[in-house]
């Protein structure tokens, strides 16, 4: 893990309010699947850095999928090429890169960049509408309005395919509420081999502030350092 300067080399709309932002860093260790980085804008006054999954990495070049949500994401997606960023990463634990079944809603597809296009893995990918889906190859799509793939909730789509899910690892990512909803729909067999990458409000991103804890069977754990990936059965959501 290091802190370094990054420079935006490309910033383009990817889908809906999601931008694909490429950042060239001074130096960067190689990240593993599902790791993230903390990003800040150094020249615009104090703010906490924000966590974003490292969608793709090629040497010192990182690609992020950043969805407009609040203050900092609104600014990031408007930044021109050449803007300097603060980057701390790679952070968090990671997914084993064994073949997997993946359930990704919205921008949480960014956690699974390394699995996209892999023949041995199966991706369920959903959003509100077609325009919110970034242009990737997934196996099953869902949209709430039916504009692409299954009409309705991603979890429901997944459940319709339940019988086809073999013994591969099952990976899911998103806010706690989404993961809880998923947990409540699936059976124990699936839950037992499911790993979930959680989102949490983060202060530091590297384990020191103790701000990002979630409740687990072994007490409070730091999402940023003990996670972001937890086995689903560990979580007390």
């Amino acid at each position: 893990m290091i802190e370094t300067q990054g420079i935006i080399v490309s910033n383009k709309p990817a889908a809906g309010s999601i931008h694909r932002i490429e950042v060239e860093t001074e130096r960067m260790e190689l990240s593993k699947p599902g790791q993230f980085a903390m990003i800040g804008i150094p020249d615009e006054g104090f703010h906490l850095n924000r966590p974003f999954s490292i969608y793709k990495q090629k040497e010192n070049r990182l690609t992020f999928l950043i969805q407009k949500r609040g203050m900092i994401t609104s600014r990031l997606i408007k930044k021109s090429v050449g803007t300097k960023l603060r980057i701390i990463g790679p952070l968090g634990n990671w997914f084993s890169d064994a073949p997997a079944v993946i359930v990704a809603a919205g921008s949480s597809i960014a956690a699974f960049g390394d699995f996209i296009g892999r023949k041995d893995s199966t991706i369920f990918y959903g959003a509100a509408t077609k325009d919110d889906l970034i242009d990737i190859k997934a196996d099953f799509f869902s949209t709430m309005d039916g504009s692409r793939g299954f009409r309705g909730n991603l979890i429901e789509l997944f459940m319709t395919k339940r019988k086809q899910i073999d013994k591969r690892n099952l990976y899911i990512a998103g806010p706690a509420a989404f993961i809880k909803a998923f947990r409540n729909r699936i059976d124990d067999d699936l839950a037992n081999r499911c790993c979930a990458s959680l989102e949490a409000y983060m202060g530091c991103g590297f384990g020191v502030c103790l701000g990002c804890v979630i409740n687990t069977k072994s007490g409070y754990r730091r999402v940023c350092k003990d996670g972001t990936i937890f086995s689903l059965k560990e979580l007390l959501l």
Partner: protein, 304 residues
Amino acid sequence: MKSIKAAGLIFANPFIAASGTFGYADSCLDFYHPDLLGGFVLKGISLEPRKGNSPMRIIETPSGMINAIGLENIGIERLIKDKIPFIETLHSVAIANLYAETKDDFIELAEKINEIKRIDAVEINISCPNVKSGGMQFGVSPEMTENLTKNIKKVSSKPVIVKLSPNVTDICEIAKAAEGAGADALSLINTISAMIIDTKKMLPALANVTGGLSGPAILPIAVRMVYQVYEAVSIPIIGGGGISSVNDALQFVMAGASLVSIGTYNFISPASIPVIIKQFNNEVKKTDYSYSDLIGIAHRQHFT
């Protein structure tokens, strides 16, 4: 820069990593070696491990953040077993930050710390706004501050630093009480009691309702308090609150701090302190003054 003597200790430079933002001196290892610091304060420790408050525990505010960690910590036994061996390999000043809910527990803690050779000083946290009992109650009354400090001084074999709460009408009164009771140095400021409401949920954003505000937002309040306390006492001051640059650090020094502490900024730019130290040394060199002359200089200059 020459080393700085304060509270009977020798600091290679004036920069201290603040309690709760530096873990057990291990959180910075990916960024720099803790020996580059003047000193560091360990995460607040209590006799028993503490689970801390439920999440949400932190929230950003304009130029600051509020935390209500609730002093989650591993407890003194595990500190000794798991963390001190590493700390023993370090050379900068190591300060333990003590938290307890009663005088007796504080005394017991201080006695346990006596046994840890590598700990150079204790900082008593009588000012945490995030825990239901103890903590701030001590820090807002001069009598309790005096009483507690006296008792800890009696048992402690280490220099005792009292960390003051800014949540008071008159910080000088508390500072004088601590000095009168024998404190070797003062540390200020701790966080300021604050809260944010999540207007979507129509609820306090933090589960603990209130928390402690830190970061640049509080810097002007902290500088004012250091300035005032400098005139009220003659023991050294560790000044901090919102420092994120050389200029910020210099403000505290000129206001009267012998040492400065960096807290929240360790979350934002964890590699920064050594960079700031370098720049700081250069800035000091550029003035016509020695470092010790700069301490409190804003009181001595005349308006022109």
